[in-house]
Amino acid sequence: MSEGKTEGLKEANDALQGRREFLKNVCVSSAAALVAAPASTGAAAETANPDADVTVSEFFQGHFLLMSDEEKKQAIARLEKRYSAQYRKKTTVSNVEAPDGVLFGYALDISKCIGCRRCVHACVKENNQSRHDPEVQWIQVMKMPKGNIAFTAENLDKGYPEKSEFGDYGVQVGGNAYKTAGLSTEDAQNYYNDELVPDRDFFYMPVQCQQCEKPPCVKACPVRATFRDHAGVVLIDYNWCIGCRMCQLACPYHARRFNWGEPKLPAEEMNPKTHYFGNRPRMRGVMEKCTFCVQRTREGRNPACMEVCPVGARKFGNLLDPESDVRRVLATKRVFRFKEEFGTYPKFFYYIG
């Protein structure tokens, strides 16, 4: 009996060794991909994981929220060690809790937005997204024709009523008559490449995670890797995500981005001040999205996209505080929520100032 047990243990140990070797190989190959990036040509092969044991412990770690304080400390230490070696700079992974009595909210003035996309790039810089092949962007700015969203203006006077025994009052034929309608985002340009903004004939609508009060993504996640924290922000445990993409499927705002390949983050562009649920470098095959810059906002700072906005179109604050910017906007402006019909109750408001 006991003999069988020791044999079993030995086998398990061997299996673990095998897995370590395998993971080591995987890490080396991914690091090789990193080195291949022109920006990091100087970065040597030792950007690879310095300690295979770290990877194994990371593999067996549980959901971060369910860990004991000791386990959390170890997990953070592991990550800091790994990132510091990989990006060759002192990296901190914070685990600051969200402040109590706070519900984070965002308001965006679409009449002010000039479509410069500084927010998009500030976000990429702050949050350590993959920089090339592909560059992952959490904010997408829609450039939409002014006035005519769901029909074609040149077709307005085309078409004619069908002749019938009632005279010329039949159903319209031609013109816009055969077009499916009701798609408010139709004719939005998401990849415009203008030298000068704003374009007079268009308005701009940036979309990012709407931090829903009733997030369909959280409901869809089979392992609870994504969840809503008590400040109302939807977060992801990148080490718990299994990459099934059910959340991406559920999201009506196209807010979630998947790391289809190994993220390509050059060491010199890496932001070393990170948060466990926020901007720490991600791995291949996990989901990521806007966190309202959890690494900043949990420490009382503003999100990067808001700080960079040159026209002050973005307002961020505590929805529970009647004196906050967001609450003032809600009280005094014409406010709407994007795709309200999905019943997700976003805490991201658009307004016309």
Partner: protein, 419 residues
């Protein structure tokens, strides 16, 4: 020697023996398994970036094929149910073949899901108690449960029947008391895996094409068409190349099920298309894109019309008695077309076009990459390899060629199970 070991040895040695055709079929599958091992290695080391999926079209051909395997797996109960509900003797004897198909196709579907996942190494996160399962909120957690339970129900059923027949004690009176409930549970569970899989898709309000109450019915009717189509093909092959006796009435029943499933499917398509196209409101966008393309993006258009026409003409063809009874020519052809048309319907009508327009109004075409294609073929080749081998062994047991040396002599009645 232990009876179980004897069973495994005899079953295995019979299963891998065959004629030239048999070996060339296995070799054919072996080729795709070999190439697929390499492409699977590429995908698991470089990530899903080597396949065609994007943030806009997030479900890829693995998921589409998974839905199809659920079709066939669920439909396998149509072989089991007539025997146990309507006491069709001929089908009761063949019930084990339906269970084998269900078992192998569920396993194939689960393999597809592993290919679908970004982090297959973290699969244990969904196991209750070891990891954390978001039950009952996430529809995928329901799907995980029903698929695995269905797999085990069928594994128990198949091994019990085959083993009992092997040792020659498979008689109605001598069956274990737990066996009947397991069979009936498996019959009920077949449609269940299917309905839950439909709900995995239908639960996403933002994909207009799936936000429809007919989705489970579409799935069930396509299951009723594609599953029995495969069963008919297997029956025809089995009675041509082996000593297994399968009467025409068994095949005719399967053909009737295909015909009427296709009939219901026509109604489902018609009601779906009407409901979307008459008001031409927001949800119609994906369907119109699928049918006619959008501003020059018309990759799916030929697939759409091809699939619909193929399914409709198969339905019409099966209304003719001459086609239904043409066991060597038209019937296998029709079954082949039905099987592949339903398979093609999954990515090209159900999954890919539904993602356009995206929530931000983007239209995207999905192009399957070579690595993805070979990975799909890899999983299919693995699935068909196991299907072939297990069915071959099972036929050996059903015909009495494989049996334990202590088993009673084969009587004409007891030969195929003696119910």
């Amino acid at each position: 020697m232990n009876t179980v070991l004897c069973f495994a040895r005899d079953f295995g040695s019979y299963a891998i023996k065959g004629g030239k055709m048999y070996y060339s079929w296995l070799l054919f599958l072996g080729f795709f398994i070999l190439v697929g091992s390499y492409t699977a290695y590429i995908q698991f080391t470089e990530g899903l970036i080597v396949i065609g999926a994007t943030d806009q079209v997030t479900l890829e051909s693995f998921f589409a094929n998974f839905v199809f395997t659920a079709h066939v797996a669920a439909a396998a109960v149509l072989v089991v149910a007539p025997g146990y509900f309507y006491h069709r003797k001929d089908l009761k004897e063949l019930a084990v073949m339906g269970e084998i198909i269900a078992m192998v196709f569920v396993a194939t579907g689960i393999t597809f899901i592993l290919f679908h996942m970004g982090r297959p190494d973290r699969t244990w996160h969904i196991v209750p108690f070891i990891g954390h399962m978001n039950f009952p909120n996430s529809m995928l957690s329901f799907d995980t449960i029903v698929l695995n339970v269905y797999l085990f129900l069928n594994m128990i059923g198949v091994s019990y029947i085959l083993f009992k027949k092997y040792v020659g004690t498979f008689h109605e009176k001598q069956l274990a008391t737990w066996f009947k409930p397991i069979v009936f549970l498996a019959i009920a569970w077949g449609p269940l895996i299917h309905i839950i899989t439909a709900f995995v898709l239908a639960s996403n309000a933002r994909v207009g094409m799936w936000a429809t109450a007919v989705l489970p019915f579409a799935f069930l009717s396509m299951a009723g068409a594609s599953g029995p189509a495969l069963v008919v093909l297997i029956f025809l092959l089995a009675r041509k190349f082996t000593d297994l006796e399968i009467g025409n009435p068994a095949i005719d029943l399967m053909t009737d099920i295909i015909a009427w499933s296709l009939g219901i499917l026509m109604l489902v398509f018609a009601s779906e298309f009407f409901t979307l196209l008459y008001p031409s409101a927001e949800h119609a966008n994906s369907l119109v894109y699928n049918m006619f393309g959008h501003k020059g993006l018309n990759h799916y258009v030929p697939w759409f019309w091809g699939t619909i026409i193929a399914l409709a003409s198969c339905f019409i063809a099966l209304l003719f008695r001459r086609v239904r009874h043409s066991y060597h020519r038209w019937l296998p052809l029709v079954c082949f077309v039905v099987f592949f048309a339903v398979l093609i319907e999954k990515p090209m009508i159900l999954i890919f076009p539904s993602f356009s327009p995206s929530p931000l109004g983007e239209y995207t075409e999905y192009h399957v990459t070579l690595v993805e294609l070979f990975n799909v073929l890899f999983v299919w080749a693995l699935g068909f390899f196991w299907l072939t081998v297990i069915l071959k062994g099972a036929i050996g047991i059903l015909t009495g060629e494989v049996r334990h040396h202590s088993a009673p002599a084969v009587s004409p009645d007891g030969m195929r199970g003696g119910m």
